[in-house]
Structures are given as C-alpha cells and as structure tokens.
C-alpha cells in the first residue's frame, strides 16, 4: 500500500536524519517516493528552523539556575529507595541472627566462662527491647510524681530513671528533670552524658530535688545495632559488667533496696528532715528576675542588674560563676541600663514550680518542664528515618547534639509539637 510505504519511508528518513544523513541521502534511498518525501521532510525540518538561539537559551539557563541550586541545596537525604532499603533490612536481619546465634551459644555459660558477658548483654538487650515501651511509661510516671511532690513542696524519698542529658557543676538534667547532685554523690563520677541512669534522691520543702545515689543502667545508643543513618558509634567502654547485676533475675532497672526486683519503687510520702547540703537562695524584696543569655557573665550581670558580683552570688546561690546556665533565672535589684531583657520578660514567678510570690526560694534554674524533646529522643531517631520531611529537621538536629549539652534556653518553645 502506497501510504503505508510512505509512512514507513518517512520514518526511516527521519531516523537517517537523526543519524547525520542529509535529505538527499534519504531521497536517494527511496527514489520512487522521493517526490512525496521531499516536501514532507522539509516541512518537518522547519522544527529545526524554528529553534531558539543559544543566546536566549543561555540567558534563561542562568536566570533559572539560582532557583534550581537552592532547591538542590535544600534537599535532605532522600528516602531510601526500595532495593537499598531491602538490602539494609536484610543486613539488619543477618546481624540480628548472628547476635541471637551467639546469644544461644552463650545460653549455658556460667560466670567465669568466656561467653558469660555475652549472655548478660543479650539478656539485657532482650529485656530492653521488650520492656522499653513499658519502661518509658513507668519512668514517665515516676517523673510526674516527683514533679508533683516538688510543686507541693513536699519532702519525700524518690527514685527515678532517665537519660542524662546535662551535667553542670551542681545540677544535672535527667530526662527533663533537674536534679541537684552535690559533690561526692555516690556514683556521680561513673556515668556520662547520654547514659540512662537511675537516681535515688529526695525532694525538699523548697522544691528542690537532691540526689543521693546515681547508678548507670544502660547506654541507650549501643543497646541494639541499628542500620540507620544516625548511628552513633558504639561506645565500647559501656558494656555492662557481669558484676553489676545479680545473676538470677537480670532487670534493666537496678536494685536499690534488698526487696525491690522490678521497676522503680513508689516514693513514700514520709516526712524526713531535709539535709541542708545545698545553699538556699534568698532574694531580697524587690529584686526582679533576669534570664541569663548566652554571653552573660557574672560581671556583666552585676552591671546590668545593678549589684555586685558577690551579692548576686550570695543571693542567688551561684556556686559556679563561670558556668551560668543560659536560660536560668538570676535575681537582681534592677536593670541598671533600663533595657528590657530580650524576649523573655518574666513576671515574678519564672519557675514552673509554683512558689509563693517573690520569696527567696526561687532557685537558680528554670525548669521548662513542658517539653518532650529529651524524653522522646529514641522515637525521634526512628521518625527521621522514615520520613524525609522538613518538620523532622529540628528533631534530627536534637539527635545530633544529643550526646552533649542540651541548650536550655527559653527558645525551646519553638520545638515541634
């Protein structure tokens, strides 16, 4: 059929043109159809005549380039593509199998055997996996109870667990709770930032939480090998030693009293005299709060607040003037320059622990206890794996700064959710 031949010939000619041949080459290849093909090819070729000049094309390319660069720059690590994800999960399965395999081998080992340490580790890990969810609930409940006690200025013995996120001279932060850790507290020197620790402490009538014992429980980051992009290299020094836990029932929560074997003991609401191991701040009448900014020093504060460094230290119980905690509240007579305290002007009760107005028991630090950004860190870890979305940005930043200092500034109000 003529038309069919023509359709095919046209197509073949276009292919020849694409291959670098000329129109005449094509017409020579199809002599009988040349008369018909020729105008068709010329018609099609006006597409080449219609092309826009490199000048215009180049100008446009430069103009658009910044937007493209910006978008490319803002790209976060993309979601894992399917095959890679499958490989990773396969790898994780293999690792898990090996771990379990060794664990099985270690099952019958006894103290003194080579694999005994493995036995304890795998037991701890297994318990950790299964109990983790439960444990976090219990731990959370203990914290809430403690906060209530502090709010009520009630004195009690308490125990709790949490993740150690901040260590300063006198005050630690354990999963969102501030604990005063006096020098010489048992166990204080054997734990580090990032550890999950158990704390035995007491609450005071002044609304302070003071530790008496510290115990290391678990290093969260090395509990399970995780094939994620935010893997923290395992800290080899933190594998639990066989001696730290009693043999028959391995629990993740350590035993403080001879009877307790399970989770943390409920705090007994008995009244015990509070040891005066700490300085009680006594703020004179009329002194006003000031929130410590990141470049404040005691000297500059003294100038701003119109007092002397010694007076400020005494009244606010500042024991370490070189380590003023950003976001903490210092009371002073007045603002000498009359300038506002940027952004965080607070009325007479800056603490979340309710106090009677303006009395001296303000305490040196502000506990913005409303945030979950510390206690939900392991969850955040997982979230930033599954979603590449922008609102995880802040959470993954928290994870990165994790082993270290948690910035306690008032801008925590901006954290998502």
């Amino acid at each position: 059929m003529v038309e069919r031949d023509l359709v095919d010939a046209l197509n073949d000619c276009i292919d020849r043109l694409a291959a670098g041949q000329t129109v005449n080459d094509c017409l020579r290849a199809y002599p009988q159809l040349a008369d018909e093909l020729h105008p068709m090819l010329e018609a099609g070729l006006i597409a080449q005549r219609a092309r826009y000049g490199t000048g215009e094309v180049d100008v446009v390319r430069s103009r658009i380039r910044p937007q493209i660069e910006l978008a490319a720059h803002n790209l976060q690590a993309p979601r894992r593509s399917q095959p890679q994800f499958r490989i990773m999960t396969a790898l994780a399965a293999v690792i898990a199998l090996v771990v379990v395999g060794v664990g099985i081998l270690a099952e019958s080992s006894l103290p003194g055997d080579m694999l005994y340490g493995v036995k304890l580790t795998t037991e701890n890990a297994r318990l950790f996996i299964t109990n983790n969810a439960l444990q976090e609930t219990f731990a959370g409940r203990r914290m809430d109870e403690i906060r209530q006690l502090l709010a009520l200025n009630r004195e009690a013995q308490v125990q709790f667990q949490g993740k150690l996120t901040v260590i300063t001279e006198m005050v630690w932060r354990v999963s969102d709770l501030e604990v005063v850790v006096p020098a010489g507290t048992v166990g204080a020197t054997s734990v580090e930032l990032g550890d999950w620790i158990a704390v035995e402490a007491f609450t005071t009538a002044d609304g302070e939480l003071v530790a008496t014992h510290i115990q290391f429980i678990q290093d969260l980051e090395t509990a399970i090998p995780q094939p994620t992009m935010t893997v923290v290299p395992p800290d080899v020094t933190n594998t639990p030693q066989p001696t730290s836990t009693p043999a028959p029932t391995i629990t993740v929560t350590p035993v403080f009293t001879p009877t307790a074997t399970d989770t943390v003991v409920l705090p007994a609401p008995t009244i015990t005299p509070s040891p005066t191991a700490v300085c009680t701040p006594s703020i004179p009448q009329g002194w006003i709060p000031y929130v410590v900014q990141s470049n404040d020093t005691l000297a500059s504060l003294a100038a701003i607040l119109g007092s002397s460094a010694e007076q400020l230290m005494a009244a606010n119980c500042i024991t370490d003037p070189d380590n003023l905690e950003v976001g903490s509240v210092i009371y002073g007579p007045a603002y000498a320059t009359g300038e506002d305290n940027t952004g965080t002007q607070i009325e007479s009760t800056p603490n979340t622990i309710p106090q009677s107005e303006s009395s001296g028991s303000g305490g040196g630090t502000v506990d913005n206890a409303s945030d979950d950004d510390n206690s939900s860190d392991t969850e955040d870890n997982n979230e930033s794996e599954d979603q590449g979305e922008s609102d995880d940005d802040e959470e993954s930043d928290d994870d990165e700064s994790d082993g270290g200092y948690d910035d306690n500034s008032g801008s925590e109000a901006s954290s998502p959710d």
């Binding site: 038309e3 023509l6 359709v7 095919d8 046209l10 197509n11 276009i14 292919d15 043109l17 694409a18 040349a34 008369d35 018909e36 020729h38 105008p39 068709m40 090819l41 010329e42 018609a43 099609g44 070729l45 006006i46 597409a47 080449q48 005549r49 219609a50 092309r51 826009y52 490199t54 215009e56 094309v57 446009v60 390319r61 103009r63 658009i64 380039r65 937007q67 493209i68 660069e69 978008a71 490319a72 720059h73 790209l75 976060q76 690590a77 993309p78 979601r79 894992r80 593509s81 590449g388």
Partner: protein
C-alpha cells in the same frame, strides 16, 4: 502506560544515580545538560519566553522534588524530563487542537520534482516557521519537535508521548502533512 525498553546511556545513568542521592553537582550537571532541549521543547509550543522560562524551571524543580520523595527515575532521564515538560505545557494550555489535522488519505502529492513547495518552505523565515508549528495540535507539535527538532528515536518519542511506535509513525506522518497545509494557507507567503 506503555512501557518501552530504551537502551541505557551509561554516563547518564551514573549521573542519575548520584543525583538520586541528592548529590548537588550531579543535579546541577543534569540541569546544565538538559535545560536547552527542555527549553526548546517548551518554548516552541508556548510562544512566550517568560512563560517558557517558568515552565522550564518547574520541570527541574519537579525533578528535585522527585529525588526528595525517592521517586526520581533510574533510567531514561531525558524521557522523564520531557514527559514532565509536556505535563507543564498541558497544565497551562490544555491539549487544545488548533488546526484541523489531516487524515492518512489527505497527504498532498508533490507536483513535480523541481518542487516550488519545497522552495517555499526553505525560504521561510524563523517567525513563520514558529508560527506554523504552533498552529498544529499539541501532539503534532510534540512529535515534530521531538522527532525533527530533537532527533530523538521513534522509541524514545513513543515513550515520552505515551504511545505505541506505530501510533507515533502515523502521528508524525499526519503532522508533516498538516504542516504543509498550514504553510499553503494565505498569510504564510514569504514576506
């Protein structure tokens, strides 16, 4: 969607693999290489340079968005980009038919070997050429631009247009003959 297996281009695939991992240099190299043909493709159809500019940038932003979502192509990047470009043009204009298309039977026989029609077409200036093209239907414009303008293969063109190769053959045949008819209209004479 008809899937056609296109031969892989090794260098393009390597670049693409890097781009999929959010490698900025790779992404920008892709942009530099493909912006010209994408721009030509769009520009010839829309006739407005600033609109063409916006639509072109959309194409590459979409590419980056696809990388973010893990949905960027693994192969045949060029085809993927052209398909996005088509989409952008359609979104803007819709698939509007402008000039009545010819059927297979209506192809115009050439009058003689020493062909005045051919001579006329060769004498067209750029503006006439562009104007004539834009009078084609969207699909016809596309097939002419991709096959004659970009010299893409039948298979790749079919992949981009979402058609079977046989359908593209017929389409290009109709398109050239419609173009011939357009060029014979009054108003297309040489100035």
């Amino acid at each position: 969607m008809i899937f056609i297996v296109l031969p892989d281009i090794p260098t393009e695939d390597r670049l693409l693999a890097q781009a999929r991992l959010a490698n900025q240099e790779a992404i920008m190299e892709i942009y530099e290489s493909y912006q010209p043909p994408i721009y030509q493709f769009i520009r010839m159809q829309v006739g407005d340079s600033s609109l063409a500019e916006d639509l072109t940038s959309d194409v590459f932003l979409k590419f980056i968005e696809a990388i973010q979502k893990g949905k960027a192509p693994r192969h045949s990047l060029r085809g993927w980009l052209f398909r996005v470009a088509r989409n952008r043009v359609y979104k803007h204009y819709g698939k509007v038919k402008q000039f009545p298309t010819t059927t297979l039977e209506e192809w115009l026989p050439a009058s003689s070997y020493d062909n005045p029609e051919v001579q006329f077409m060769r004498s067209l200036n750029i503006e006439q050429a562009r104007k004539a093209l834009r009078l084609l239907s969207a699909e016809q414009q596309e097939v002419i631009i991709l096959r004659f303008g970009q010299l893409l293969s039948l298979e790749e063109t079919a992949d981009i247009l979402g058609k079977r190769v046989g359908a593209v053959k017929s389409l290009q045949f109709r398109a050239v003959n419609t173009l011939r008819k357009i060029l014979q209209q009054p108003g297309m004479e040489p100035i």
